[in-house]
Symmetry: C2
Subunit: 346 residues, 2 copies
């Protein structure tokens, strides 16, 4: 039997002391870490500090029935790192706040923090602060990530221009279909108590439970000497993110269905579930891939680079956001990405 | 009747757009605010960036039955500003994340953000980012505050030395007794439906519902050319905070009961409730006053300054933390401040 230590035995300060031991400081710019009223760090001179924050709420963003706590901790860090990368910034530090009820044991909180530490090590960030508190209901994780970049290297969503090329990293729709499989198997398990065999869905489930932030793409920009004209990470679905770029850059966009990068497991699972793989790619969300636009002159530099798909081009604002389908018909796209507050009322 | 607009009518992006209009950017160091994957700001050259974060959870930290949302928003900002001041840093920027259920209307979320904006204006910080998401249970607010200070001006908890003077700003125990009155009147209201007359408790209730962070004290340090040897804000109670200083500075402390600053309304309410005003001052918490130690040489500079009480001195580690009572007896102090995770199990 696994050991279970009640949080009430050690209290808030005891828990913080305990968890602190799981965290390592390796970033050269960390000046003061956990253990005071605040943390202190050095922002490289001549650089802007970049900050982003995301909440993950049980029942809204994750279901603990199929989400291991270690994976959840990992994901909570990754989704924030992804936002820093989407500004073309270097991640450096994070704070992690957790609200949890006493149904969690010390051992389960440790699992969560092991995932947080694993992601922190992988992405080269230090956990320098946070808060832990009790909640009468579910688990909630609030992460804030801090990084930096030279002012001229920061890429926003607002400078895409007509005729520029729209690119996306990796592939789309996998995390969404991974979630559909997990939800389906949860229902099967509830009624039959049979452990599901998920081997044939390993890739898409991995994309849902343990996403990665695409720091290689940021490295690639540097290596190829490319500064995207706009950049955003795909958390709510390609269509929704492209709409953000169009809105903030005051432009339209045309993308091509047959250019959308879709993994074979995503495609097969969509077929099996009677879903359109294209719709999953457009509206699925949680891919944490990077969507960006580049000048036409930069196109040659990325041509043929594995893992970067050229999916369309920026158009005039009046043209709106459109997709050329496989049968050559043109359809307008609307963002049907995840919206927690609207979903809430279903 | 007050207007009620459902959040489901406008969705997450609509809500963010709407709330953004309530927030003003006034800080000269804000480079990119809300509306991109991250915000960007300038940290003054030659200064360290200082960061802190706090969670406020409904049912654990506040009760909406007697906490107006505008006050709650104000307090969520103030408690974080207080932590930055407790590092002797200048507050500059905050991010605010909120998880809420659809029992909240657009108008009530607006009230919350009006309080956030009011505090931001008062303390000279810009709200540069955040997250809004649905929750199936209560309201939760996660604020992260960023500021900066020259490295040599940052004051930690760890450099108090024997014979140094222990000081505290303002007065103690008021916020705790304010909470006790609110809790008592809530019970009376529940059974009698009579609106309570709280006029004679106005000061202590104000201290509970609308605390302030003591930026004047930080200004005073500068004016008097004092650099405290240790500094902490009082969120969990004087005894608990003094214990943090003793632990991290490897020292003991002796304080005097008759030196504890207690407001007359706090004292009278404690009497009325058969509570010890001293115990409320030691363990009440949420005062957001500053507790600090200074060199003996600096004592003259603060002597007679209104709103600063000299309550004792630092002793050898082996002496522990003790209080000389009014009857000259010596008692050991233990931290009985608020601990959410322990409280949870009551």
């Amino acid at each position: 039997m696994t050991k279970r230590t009640e949080l009430s035995q050690i209290g808030e300060f005891g828990l913080i002391d305990h968890l602190q031991k799981l965290l390592n400081y390796t970033h050269k710019n960390t000046h003061i870490g956990i253990g005071d009223d605040g943390a202190a760090m050095t922002i490289p001179p001549e650089e802007k500090m970049v900050i982003t924050t995301d909440l993950l709420v049980e029942g809204t963003h994750f279901n603990l029935m199929y989400t291991p706590l270690k994976h959840l901790g990992y994901k909570a860090v990754v989704v924030n790192i992804s936002d820093l990368l989407a500004m073309n910034a270097k991640p450096a530090h994070i704070t992690v706040s957790v609200a949890l009820s006493n149904r969690f044991s010390l051992e389960s909180v440790e699992e969560l923090y092991k995932g947080i530490e694993l992601a922190s090590q992988k992405y080269g960030v230090d956990v320098v602060g946070g808060d832990i508190t009790s909640s009468h209901s579910g688990l909630l994780i609030s992460v804030t990530a801090v990084g930096s970049a030279p002012e001229k290297q920061i890429v926003r969503r607002s400078a895409a221009k007509e005729n520029q090329i729209i690119c996306v990293s990796g592939n789309l729709g996998a995390a969404y279909l991974g979630l559909q499989v997990l939800e389906r198997e949860k229902e099967v398990f509830k009624s039959s108590k049979m452990q599901p065999d998920l081997a044939s869905y390993d890739y898409i489930i991995g994309r849902q439970l343990k996403p990665e932030a695409r720091k290689e793409i940021i490295a690639l920009f540097k290596e190829k000497n490319i500064l995207p004209t706009s950049l955003i990470d795909i958390s709510d679905g390609l269509a929704s993110e492209l709409m953000h770029i169009c809105k903030q850059s005051q432009c339209g966009a045309q993308i091509y269905e047959d250019k959308l990068p879709i993994d074979i497991q995503t495609y097969n699972t969509a077929q099996e579930m009677n879903l359109s793989a294209t719709t999953c790619a457009l509206n699925g969300g949680e891919d944490y891939e990077l969507l960006f636009t580049i000048e036409q002159n930069d196109y040659e530099k990325l041509k043929g680079v594995a893992g970067i798909a050229t999916i369309g081009h920026i158009t005039d604002k009046n043209a709106g956001l459109q997709m050329v389908c496989k049968d050559q018909t043109l359809i307008p796209l609307s963002a049907q990405g995840w919206d927690g507050l609207k979903q809430n009322t279903k």
